[in-house]
Amino acid sequence: MNKTDALIIGAGPTGLFTAHQLKLIGLNCEVVDNLDKIGGQCIELYPDKPIYDIPAIPECTGEELTNNLLNQLKPFDIKFHLNDRVDEVKKDNDKWLIKTSNGKTFLTPNVIIAGGVGSFEPRKFSPKECERFENKSLLYSIKDKKIFKGKTVTIFGGGDSALDWSIELSKDSKINLIHRRDEFRGAQATVNKIHELVKEGKINLYTKYQMSSVNGSDKLESIVIKNDEGEAKILDTDYVLGFFGLIMQLGPIANWGLNLDKKTIQVDTEKFETNQKGIYAVGDICTYPGKLKLILSGFHEGALAARACFKLARPNEKYRFEFTTSSKTIKNRLGVKSD
């Protein structure tokens, strides 16, 4: 059981700055994120795209913003739990008991949801019957590449994941690569390599085709792919891999008894608290009259939610507002010398 003053759900820019604000006022916190890396949408959706509306930063990419926020957190010791998703939030006397998908538990008076648009999950094949083989012979990520040795593997997708795995697995497996159009999104060098392997006969490439159906009783035997003209091809295959990127789903957050508005959580604008005492929502996932889905709004919301956490984490102390420019206490926390 982990005990902490506040648990932050989501390690995107808003979650990171909220952690900074909590540590600055002397509270401890831990952060859980479903992705395997820190940065949220900034890292997952647009690591290379420049952002132009962060105050005092004329231009930076999603990756640079994430790295800068992490630099700002350097003075502090914050535990990140990546690749883990908060599944349950339950009342436990005056605290919240939290359980994650990896079986970790937390006890805390404050839960701050900085979950963006929910958790990222792999986009799946559209035919319903694909679910029968999911996690057996139909996969959306690779944990152990040895299982593909000597097998026929059919890979769907046109981005770097699909292309990199096609190249890697073509060494020991028979590869079919299928993409809905002729152009690929992957790096040019990777695309060139794919075309080389196609010429050498190591990869069978089918473009303008998409998954139509899967065949097999206990075991996957073959799949049918179709093009826009409705022409079908049957491919015998042992494994199917789909790399269609990630989608965002609200997921378990919908079950925590919070007032929702479409896919967002209703909060007040004083504490950014939800209808549950001690549960806050900040950043893209919260909504209130006038809400702007900007990173800078998330920073503001996180700063106020952090102050609200103080009251529940330190019921016998009074919070005193201090500036980083002048407060000795804050400078000690930051590990910088005061004048």
Binding site: Q41, L45, Y46, V117, R123, S126, G157, G158, G159, H179, R180, R181, E183, R185, Q210, D228, F244, G245, I247, M248, Q249, K263, D284, K293
Partner: protein
């Protein structure tokens, strides 16, 4: 104001007057037309405002940027006439545009 016609998957037709300058996605979201999620809010960073453009209209629309085609790779059942509705900006030329909303966005 130009009229945009949204056909939902369950054969409901929503005929909406949408202000010039708004996107076809915004026209749907602001008027509660179901079936367009627009998770990223119009940043061309997801593919959850995907629509099938009526065949008579498809060639009349401004061409896709590369980024839109890349995102459409990730849409649910993309077809030749697929577009991201956040990239279709309403103007007088688009008066009467018909878009069909897929059965789901993800």
């Amino acid at each position: 104001m130009p009229k945009i016609i949204y056909n939902t998957f369950d054969n409901q037709t929503h005929s909406i007057d949408v202000q010039n300058g708004l996107s076809v996605m915004e026209g749907a979201v602001q008027n509660d037309v179901p079936g367009i999620d627009a998770d990223c809010g119009g940043g061309m960073a997801c593919a959850t405002c995907h629509v099938y453009v009526d065949e008579n209209w498809f060639d009349k629309l401004p061409k896709k940027e590369d980024g839109e085609e890349d995102m459409l790779d990730m849409a649910f059942e993309p077809k030749k006439n697929s577009r991201l509705s956040c990239q279709l900006i309403v103007s007088d030329e688009l008066d009467g545009l018909i878009v069909n909303i897929p059965s789901k966005q993800a």
